[in-house]
């Protein structure tokens, strides 16, 4: 079945074409970062309008690249939550109405389920069950995945998400928001041992995270180092390195604990922070210590994209799941409310 996937939950417009026989045929992502940069943040209404503007041209591009026409489609998948409601509605309206006009089924997909299943788009596919670390600007979760739609939340951030902590620490150092990737770059040239950043919540049992304290520690360190309110370049690099190492260590310690606790030694990394090189390297070592393996999608499929929505939607459509004709979105939607894939079709 040829499935068109639409992702519009936040500030990226993602469109992809996935075929259940041939795999991922084409995908395009339009990032709105430049649109929002002049405001220094995300502007939800602008995001919606930009999704409206980019949706159809991206669909045309993807179809053309794959050498298909809309008439070849067997189904359409769109992100129906969680996310910004205005942004979600654009993708849902577009996907649902296009499917209706073509007389094919459509299905709403959970954004985080898309991220969880993104590694399935690569050649090296992990077997169920596996442990997933979802790390992005909005989420930090450890999930046990028994199968499609069978998710057990093992732990999550009690306050800031890991990506949010990166962005905020970067902001404190005067990097433009969102500055997580810029902070990682600085960290490459820094001495991670100069400042002893804490490893929050690793000294007690459990799989929850807390990154808010690291933000406070960063602020105090900056205040102690700055001369007349200005940080020396080397201080910036050392603080960035200390911060990044603390976040990565904390994530790795909890992943190891989750794998030991469940006896599952396959680990997948998904979400925007999953593109962080140091995190990838460290989790590879962690998994190997447990005679396991780590799987991650290519960086372009770690951040928001339409391919993961097309894949997750194709699995659900293939099992006979269809969303009804009404356009609906769920801005807040716990992943544990998802149902296992219907057996057989």
């Amino acid at each position: 079945m040829l499935v068109l996937g639409l992702e519009t939950s936040c500030d990226e417009t993602g469109v992809a074409l996935y075929d259940t026989e041939r795999g991922l045929l084409a995908h395009r992502v339009y990032s709105q970062i430049a649109v929002h940069a002049e405001y220094g943040g995300v502007v939800p209404e602008l995001a919606s309008r930009d999704h409206v503007r980019k949706g159809l041209p991206l669909i045309r591009e993807v179809m053309e690249e794959a050498g298909h026409t809309l008439q070849d489609l067997g189904g359409i998948a769109y992100t129906s939550g969680p996310g910004l409601v205005g942004a979600l509605l654009v993708g849902a309206c577009l996907g649902r109405s296009l499917a209706w006009s073509l007389g094919i089924p459509a299905v709403g997909v959970h954004h985080m389920e898309g991220h969880l299943l993104a590694p399935m788009l690569e050649d090296d596919v992990p077997e169920f069950p596996f442990i997933a670390l979802l790390v992005s600007g909005g989420h930090t979760q450890l999930v046990k995945v028994e199968g499609i739609g069978e998710y057990e939340l093992l732990g999550e951030s009690l306050d800031d998400a890991a990506g949010e902590a990166f962005d905020k620490a970067a902001k404190m150092m005067g990097l433009p928001y969102p500055g997580g990737p810029a902070l990682s770059k600085l960290a490459d040239e820094g001495d991670a041992g100069r400042f002893s950043f804490p490893r929050p919540m690793t000294d007690r049992p459990g799989l929850d995270f807390s990154f808010s304290g690291l933000k406070t520690f960063t602020r105090t360190t900056i205040l102690n180092c700055a001369v007349d309110g200005v940080l020396a370049e080397q201080d910036k690099k050392d603080i960035a390195a200390g911060f990044q190492t603390a976040v990565v260590d904390t994530l790795a310690i909890k992943c190891k604990r989750a794998m030991k606790q469940t006896g599952v030694n396959r680990l997948i990394i998904a979400g925007g922070v999953g593109a962080n090189r140091m995190l990838r390297e460290q989790l590879k070592v962690t998994a190997e210590q447990l005679k396991g393996r780590v799987y991650y999608p290519r960086p372009a499929l770690c951040t928001d994209n339409g391919a993961m929505i097309a894949y997750a939607g194709a699995q659900r459509l293939n099992a006979g799941e269809v969303s009804d004709i009404a356009v609906s979105c769920v801005p807040r939607w716990p992943m544990t409310e998802l149902k296992p894939l219907a057996s057989g079709n």
Binding site: G41, V42, L84, D160, R219
Partner: protein
Amino acid sequence: MTESNPQTTGQIRLTGEDEMVSFAGRMSSILTGGGLVFLEGTLGAGKTTLSRGLIQALGHTGPVKSPTYTLVEEYDLPDGRVCHFDLYRLGDPEELEYMGIREYLTDGTLCLIEWPERGRGVLPEADLAIHIDDVGEARILNWQAETDKGAQWNRQLQQLVKEWQE
């Protein structure tokens, strides 16, 4: 800070996260009947920690996640609804209209708003504006009542500060 007037302003010094959470818990029994509370202070000052103390004392048992990414988190609690906003990522105050801000600011809802300066011009006047300053490990909370309701809260907060310091 404007000149201090005991009718409309108050202050307390708190040391460490536990004290902040515990004081916020005591505040929760004062900030009743809904209203608008601004939480000001730089990144890492403790705005979300204060909110967590308040929301959990009002009966929420799960984590109080930072609303930075989602802009707002809602809690339906036994004594009424609490909406926890973080306008940090808001590009333009006008966006609040598109978010349906007026629907949140209804009677009986307690709205806690971090980074209210990003919503200036669209947000109405706060009942109580709390500013958090950090001084090493300690945090100093300065608040200012802007409405009659805020002034009433302030009187009770003054009493709480007295009890707290005894």
